[in-house]
Subunit: 129 residues, 2 copies
Amino acid sequence: MCGMDLDFHKLGGLVTAVIQDHVSGRVLMVGFMNEEAFRKTVESGYATFFSRSRNKLWLKGETSGHRLVVKEISTDCDKDALLIRVEALGPGVCHEGYESCFFRRLENGEWRVNEKQAYDPNAVYGGRS
Amino acid sequence: MCGMDLDFHKLGGLVTAVIQDHVSGRVLMVGFMNEEAFRKTVESGYATFFSRSRNKLWLKGETSGHRLVVKEISTDCDKDALLIRVEALGPGVCHEGYESCFFRRLENGEWRVNEKQAYDPNAVYGGRS
């Protein structure tokens, strides 16, 4: 397969990966994948990203157990972005304790948290984020 | 507002913007916004991107009339990505004639187009993409 024709060069070796709950349709997070992360995602069936801050592959759920089980993968017209529909294991995808990383909404020019935490991140990550 | 605290530096002045239909929940496209594009999006109520290939602001629907009417804007934990729920004017968002840019699905190691075009892109864009 070898990256299956995705266009990794626009973002310096990465493509954008949008993670969406396959049942509710909620967008849970956005990450980036290099060719190896994409291959691992396809082969293992668990979403694997490339962490730009840690500069290495990152199996989502490595620490928390909150893995993302791949249900369907689509790419866009330019083949530089992925849409991955998943079953999210555990109560929430966000390391801050929310179901989705998109827990802040713009209201009158300010970002407001508009939902409750789904779990206590300190209990899961033990103080690490 | 001045970018409202978004983290534009990780992607060289840009944040990722995921565009989602506010009714169906379908992810329609992924684009990028610089601070000015984000400000114009908020002020005008129409999604405006920064085109990396043309190196300038790009009001989505400028040519086609297929504008994206902003219904809700969220940001993620890192504030380096946006989720914008929209009403998409016109039959499709993708310049290739599809409702969504994510019209190719991975099936047995190959990308397969799994839906019909929603309009004829030549009639709308006159041969330009």
